[in-house]
């Protein structure tokens, strides 16, 4: 099947139809070593109730993207060079800080990877959760406290009343993450950004936390950007998947397509490097080479120096993100042959 080389902008529906519509986002960091381009012309859409899995290796820009949407990148040394972020048809990058503050924690929330240090050790978790209510809903101390107890119940922390007075270091990793989730979901945001929420947890706890997120998402009806490097998590949770590499989106599409009808060699490489129980004797194939430094990318396609199917043009020109199916895009010069792989 030949695909049409269409301009990537054509995939965009007018803003207002998506919950989140990120266009042409470029972010860089001015460090002593030089200016590092962390995100390069990234587009992203998220609809109500959707779970978008964002996958990529360390340093691919997943966290930077998340923090850019929340506008909590320290600027300096960070710099948002271009782009627009539409959230419910409001453009976030143009908002005043005070307006953005109203959105953070209330309409868009974020949870982080390492709850050990992501919760303030000097205050009780009750205090930290209640704080959200006091600020966004202007509740009194007492009211905020009781609502916070409710939240702890919702995330299934046993003995919630007592736990309110606990300090983060007195809780286990799983419980701390639950507390973080309680804090993030307290105001029932329309969108949750989860930055590697289960990476630092034990496997059994991981499943619990993911289940919790699913459940709460269903209850509130929110959309989730789920950032992870774990493909298993993505398979279990996401509707759509976005594969990132070196600050770019390499492939993006419905989860079925990404796993079974994927296109980009990087995607294929990622999937093949995951050990699978149902293919016990298959060889583990690694992607040759290492992730390049962001300020030292190969010319042309960013993946060209590690790709098995590299062609001449890959070294010369970077491909655009092209549609290769319904809501399925890939940034690659290869022809698309939809077979079942995996």
């Amino acid at each position: 099947m030949k695909l049409k080389h269409s301009n990537s902008n054509q995939r965009k529906q007018p803003s207002g139809e998506h919950l989140l519509d990120v266009r042409n986002l470029s972010v860089s960091f001015d460090l002593i070593e030089g200016t590092i381009p962390a995100i390069f012309r990234l587009d992203l859409v998220l609809d109500q109730g959707e779970i978008l899995g964002v996958v990529g290796e360390s340093g691919c820009g997943k966290s930077v993207m998340a923090k850019s949407i929340m506008r909590i990148i320290p600027q300096p040394p960070g710099r948002i060079n271009s782009g627009e972020i539409f959230f419910e048809s409001r453009e976030l990058l143009g908002l005043r800080e005070s307006e953005m503050r109203d959105i953070r924690g209330k309409e868009i929330s974020m949870i982080f990877q390492e709850p050990t240090n992501s919760l303030n050790p000097a205050f009780t978790i009750g205090d930290q959760i209640a704080e959200v209510f006091r600020f966004h809903h202007r509740l009194s101390k007492g009211q905020a406290w009781s609502k916070a107890v409710e939240e702890l119940h919702r995330v299934e922390i046993p003995d919630a009343e007592k736990r309110m007075r606990s300090y983060p270091h007195q809780l286990s990793g799983g419980m701390r993450q639950r507390a973080m989730i309680a804090m993030a979901l307290a105001c029932q945001p329309k969108m949750l950004i989860a930055d590697e929420p289960t990476t630092a947890l034990d496997v059994t706890i991981q499943a619990q936390i993911l289940e919790l997120i699913s459940q709460l998402k269903r209850n509130i009806g929110m959309a989730v950007i789920l950032i992870t490097h774990n493909l298993g998590v993505v398979a279990a949770m996401a509707h759509r998947v976005m594969i990132m590499y070196a600050g770019r989106v390499l492939e993006e599409g419905p989860v079925e397509n990404i796993f079974y009808h994927n296109h980009h060699p990087y995607t294929r490489g990622l999937l093949q490097s995951v050990p699978r129980l149902d293919q016990a004797h298959r060889e583990l194939r690694e992607i040759k080479g290492i992730v390049p430094q962001l300020n030292d990318l190969p010319g042309g396609c960013a993946f060209s120096n590690r790709c098995d199917l590299v062609m001449d043009i890959c070294h010369k020109r970077e491909p655009e993100l092209k549609p290769i199916g319904p809501r399925h895009f890939s940034r690659c010069w290869l022809e698309y042959e939809p077979q079942r792989n995996g």
């Binding site: 923090k67 929340m70 909590i72 005070s98 503050r101 109203d102 959105i103 953070r104 924690g105 209330k106 929330s109 974020m110 982080f112 390492e114 240090n117 992501s118 919760l119 303030n120 050790p121 000097a122 205050f123 704080e131 959200v132 600020f135 966004h136 300090y167 270091h169 973080m180 804090m183 993030a184």
Partner: protein, 316 residues
């Protein structure tokens, strides 16, 4: 929590006991015959015998220690060899002045240094930060007694707006007392404030890099609250440590400052007692200094737990 306090109390008691033994045996450490050292080698026999008896040097060590301790617990620290006054009374009379100056210095330094350090940490690597560092270096290098003299020169001699010497208690006459208080307190504030400010700055810089600050941002908490609530509480313990260490500086500094400004405080007492070999007074003062130390350290220790709950009271 009570467990912890009881254990603390016992260790404090033990420390004080140890120190009392040390202080008591101090007189035996003086080279030569202490009595002759005190009175001079031409003293009359009668004087020598009286003093020897008073200092308990004619009895076996243990006996005199026990009787000394007994007296101590009754509040009797002996009498001055020079003036004959009871030592306890001498100390108690002079304590308020010293405490007032020290407290004023402490307050002033906290008032200036914590905000200054905070601002410097927020304006990291800007010219404000560099000015800050420069001021800190200057303040730390200038000897407090020199500053005292300079202040005296400027405010009392040249400008004539503040009294040169003397002391009026602020509890008797507030405004007058303040006039006598400000220069001595200021002399001690420079060094103390500089160290506190520097530590506040570096501590804040570290705390602002922590993950929980980003979390607070993501919650939509306004920046000023993040600084004053989330960051400051975590940044405070090292500042507290500096405070604890600097009590020694304050106590030592009062000796010279009180001398310069003619403040009737404990510092002057210690100095004159040491020089005139008024042994009982020296003993009493050393004990006082130690008690203050232990007291301050204990309070600092306990307050750590408030700022950093990870240091639990009861070790699990």
């Amino acid at each position: 929590m009570t467990h912890y306090l009881i254990r603390r109390f016992i260790s404090v008691l033990l420390t004080l006991c140890l120190v009392s033994i040390l202080v008591f045996s101090l007189i035996h450490l003086i080279p030569g015959d202490p009595v002759l050292v005190i009175l001079g080698s031409t003293a009359e026999r009668e004087q020598v015998e009286t003093l020897r008896n008073k200092l308990g040097l004619d009895r076996p060590l243990l006996v005199s220690y026990v009787s000394w301790m007994a007296n101590l617990l009754r509040g009797d620290m002996g009498t001055s060899i020079i003036t004959g006054e009871p030592v306890t009374q001498m100390i108690v009379q002079r304590l308020p002045a010293t405490m007032t100056v020290a407290a004023a210095a402490l307050l002033l330094s906290m008032l200036f240094s914590v905000p200054a350090g905070l601002i410097a940490s927020l304006r990291h690597n800007t010219y404000i930060d560099y000015i800050f560092s420069g001021l800190v270096i200057l303040a730390v290098s200038a000897p407090s007694f020199w500053l005292a003299l300079l202040f005296m020169l400027l405010f009392s001699v040249k400008l004539k707006i503040l009294p040169m010497m003397g002391y009026v208690s602020i509890f008797e006459n507030f405004w007058q007392g303040l006039k006598y208080l400000i220069l001595p307190a200021l002399s001690l504030t420079f060094m103390l404030g500089a160290l506190l400010a520097r530590m506040t700055r570096s501590s804040m810089l570290e705390v602002l890099r922590e993950d929980y600050i980003i979390t607070a941002l993501a919650k939509g908490i306004p920046y000023w609250l993040i600084i004053l609530k989330h960051a400051l509480k975590n940044a405070f313990p090292p500042v507290l440590t500096i405070l604890g260490f600097q009590i020694g500086y304050l106590l030592g500094g009062t000796v010279i400052i009180e001398d310069i400004y003619s403040i009737p405080g404990v510092g002057r007492l210690i100095f004159s007692a040491i020089v005139s070999r008024d042994y009982q007074v020296v003993q009493g003062c050393i004990l006082l200094v130690t008690v203050i130390y232990v007291f301050v350290y204990t309070i600092v220790d306990i307050s750590y737990v408030y700022f950093d709950p990870r240091l639990s009271y009861d070790k699990k």
